[in-house]
Symmetry: D2
């Protein structure tokens, strides 16, 4: 049965597998010093127009978040994020495991409001008795958000400026970065993003790789001993080629963004199908689509295609998530179209 | 230049790559619920003769160690290990990062002495004032050890019995498990090992895989919410097929042990070469060989093959490590033989 | 200038100082084994009607909270509390420092709603995908709350029953316990409270002592090695008499509750004064009174007595806190009365 | 029965109790901002000749150690200490609880050898592969040591210089600082010590106070947000007068050093008694004396005075500890003399 459950329920993009095959017989250094990791770094420095970037490849998103946050904050500092942020909800407390509180701000369709951020920081620093409260030492956002929405350049600029004003790092979780950049609503590109934050990562797992996230410190600003920190987090890959080879492929001839574009195209076809079927969709210009279904419709549809229930809307309706990827085919779309006709 | 630096400087065994290719087009569940992880679990349950085993696939050894130790101890408990243990030396404090002290006992060629272990536990529980001292809540050994040595069945039985007497779990780090089991000195097999500890892992990264360690709770004794614990450690793979496919291949037709046997065979050829060259070797029946070289010899040899310097012996001599793997060829051996003739 | 800033801005109740004087020349065991700690335990067991209670004396509230929560949860578990809870706001992340997330529920005048708690736990356990979310392993409330409100017996019974249903411990932070018990609105007593939770503490610092909180496990249910846990938290007093002597005095002839009653009486006089002055008060039957003041009034008043600004209401009004204690005198009240006449 | 078990088995020095009495009726600020803490700071700045010192009062030694080490290291850094160090043995893992490994060097009668320290740091920084090993980010010693020995000025100077060379902080645990300074073997004074480290604390609990340690950052070099860090460690005293009043008394008219001198004098009388009785003593010029007793002697003596068994020497002999304090009287000494005559 066709699955739209997630963008990590399929294998690797064929170009990645091919690169594994063609490099398998070569010996290499390990722990990030292999030739493909080095090649991938060079390509990412070009793609981000950050010639001095420090780049590290980690296996997964939660570990990238926990490692980066822990590395760039003092032990007593917390990280500001919206209530719906992945680190606040779906990471089993990986950030708190290293002693850092997630300090929450309201979520606006998954996004942080710059004014609310500024108000919080202003209040913290205005009142000396707030020294009893966790020090806000970092700002974390996801791009695109968990709800498929994207920030505008102006919004990111504002948050970035506030972070600079308060001298705290600004971290962009790009687990699905490609889909945000290829969104029709996105008014900036990868180099622009890299120049408007202190650290971000380029998500591989959800954008065509088997695993792997490329953590980028755009101005060569990796924290001292970051290698040791990665190891301490259990996040250092011995055969680092497993990530290096994949990112080397993803950043060859624009594969990363082509994968994302393909998924977006398919997601827009999904939107059209749902709209044609008279269903209500939440705003999303990325590869995750959130559809309101009556529970009877949901049940009927679930017998024909796989998707994820997101959250109850009321007793009779549920918000459901449909996700596309590099692997989504016209055939998959056709199957969904057919299934929708039975509602 | 041929490298004997490590068993993680080569790619994946070809059977593993082949399995990636043949499964890539199939959709699957994620987070460990994919069909290959399930198939690999079934095969590992058979290979260990543990029909009730709980099995989880993690990406790497340090993260497996930190996750297992943290999961099976109370927050205030420490883990007993010898001074040379990987967790005590080479994991950047990953165990301490989760609050657990590594309590050290002497290392005897990498091995823990059961009597010394018993004495420590007896002393701890005899004296009420030791309540100021970290509670010894787990025992950790590596098999084979970091120095290539192997425990005898009787030694493991003793340690296991002591752990049962004090009701603390016994954990065997099997990052190189295959090489220990295939050692000519090993007097037990995988099922026996699985029945003489509380948790162990089957190392993949150093035995033919690109990444992946299979954590086995042999009697279905995984700690409650272990899934959540793994996620909290940043160790949960979204596309869990990346490990599942590999272990499915490794446990098909005995590939795992065949890989290990091949590396052992090549290591024994290395020993012969070194012995023939009049060099002194430390005892090791596994795939890691430790050779004493005069520093002039070391320099000369290093210009022709790659290997690792382990530790200084005195001002003029160094202990050096040579490691074999699935990928070591007759040609590699011949190159070393030739290099040795130049000494 | 008279201060109503807090209940910890005065010295110790004279009976406590007297007890220090009369015991000072006696030698004693340390680390909680001294004779006054033992005597205080006996008296608290009587006062709580918990003959099997385990009782430990710690120096302060934040350390009591962090130690108890850490001791009674597994490392991966979080603690449920309302957003205004002391552990969520004013403890600088002491709970997260030990790896535990504070999972927040809405605050209703400082109180947790039993139905909302039940809904959360039901949702967590109903949906298997919540295994990515921090496991809710404990419930924490404050009695009285940070806002001076008190739970009714029925409310506590409901929360207790839910905790038992989900087999998670129920912890009552009693930093100001006496003031809650002596509140005119309180419909239960100390033994009843002790029988409707799994652990609580009797706050000394804010109820007449110089320092010290008595952590009570009512049914002899202290976690294994709790002594070691306390030490690991840096919370073990070497000269434990410093707490033992104080609690021995506080639980002699009902001093603890007499102190609380005195403060409540004075707080009710404050309420009357504020009401007579036409000011609006928040509901509070305990020793903390929250008054709405126009900012001009606030400034005028602040020139004559000390109090705390709590939070802004709007641009022109501020909520202010006035607190009484064992040390509040008729003279203090008279000074406030006079000051109010100048508004 | 007279007890020589420890220097924390007696009450407070009478001058301290007197100061509690004379200040009890005064209201004060809290959390370290009270007038007596401020007065004590002024006096300590004078006594240390450190006019810019930052000074914080914590309740106990373990919490002072854990807080200072955590505050002055990055999360991934460990602390170098000798194997017998209090933080390595008797603090239940309080340092590891905050994620920091205690990296051990050999103990020479409780002392660290500067050359061994230098060798370790040189080795760490010489070999790039040590990035897998915990970064040595701080040096910790105790003065006097747990075994009653004292460092010479030259030894401390060497360690200090090494710390400066490697740019890591040097921390002196002064839980028994007074006894070290008053030792006949000590060739420096308090100001000299304060100028040869980056942070130290003046132990109160074991030198006449009921509780309290004064953490001193001699050059105003307290870490940013240290107040918040203290609170996060549960180490912030609400009624900070409890420590402030005590240190104000201790640093009035040299009481602190007078207390120490008295204890040393009594300890030297103990030495004489033991020597006269033909017993063997370990070297110690401070208030802790370690005596070798045959087990039959130990038993006989234990029926007449209290002391601590330290560690077994062999099957028939035990090392025992006798400790003096401000409270040790001529009468106590006489009782011991009498008891020794029965051996």
């Amino acid at each position: 049965m066709t699955s739209f459950e997630s963008d990590y329920n399929n294998g690797a993009h064929p170009d990645i597998l091919r690169h594994f095959l063609e490099t398998n017989d070569q010996q290499s250094a390990s722990y990030g010093y292999d030739q493909w990791s080095e090649s991938a770094r060079t390509k990412i420095r070009e793609a981000t127009q950050c010639p001095d970037a420090n780049i590290f490849f980690l296996a997964g998103g939660t570990q990238a978040n926990a490692t980066v946050i822990d590395a760039m904050t003092a032990s007593y500092e917390g990280v500001l994020a919206v209530t719906t942020a992945h680190i606040n909800v779906h990471e089993s407390g990986a950030v708190e495991a290293f002693g850092h509180k997630v300090i929450t701000l309201p979520s606006h369709d998954g996004k942080m409001d710059a004014t609310e951020l500024h108000d919080y920081l202003k209040a913290y620093h205005a009142d000396p008795t707030w020294e009893h409260i966790v020090y806000p030492g970092m700002v974390y956002i996801t791009f695109p958000t968990e709800l498929g929405t994207v920030y505008k350049a102006a919004e990111i600029e504002q948050i970035h400026a506030i972070c600079q004003e308060y001298k705290i790092p600004f971290f962009i979780d790009g687990a699905r970065l490609g889909y945000g950049l290829m969104s029709a609503e996105c008014d900036f590109d990868l180099p622009w993003l890299a120049h408007h934050c202190d650290v971000f990562y380029i998500g591989g797992t959800k954008v065509g790789a088997l695993c792997g996230e490329a953590v980028v410190f755009p101005r060569g600003n990796a924290p001292r001993q970051f290698f040791t920190i990665v190891k301490r987090h259990g996040a250092l890959l011995a055969k680092s080629r497993v990530a290096g080879v994949q990112f080397d492929a993803l950043f060859t001839e624009g594969l990363y963004l082509r994968i994302a574009q393909h998924a977006i195209d398919k997601a827009m076809q999904l939107r059209q199908l749902f709209t044609d079927a008279g269903l209500t969709l939440r705003d999303s210009s990325t590869n995750q689509q959130f559809v309101e279904l009556a529970n009877t419709q949901m049940k009927q549809l679930a017998s024909q295609v796989l998707f994820e229930t997101w959250e109850p809307i009321d007793n009779d309706h549920t918000l459901c998530r449909f996700v596309t990827s590099w692997a989504t085919t016209d055939q998959n779309i056709a199957e969904l179209a057919q299934a929708l006709q039975t509602l």
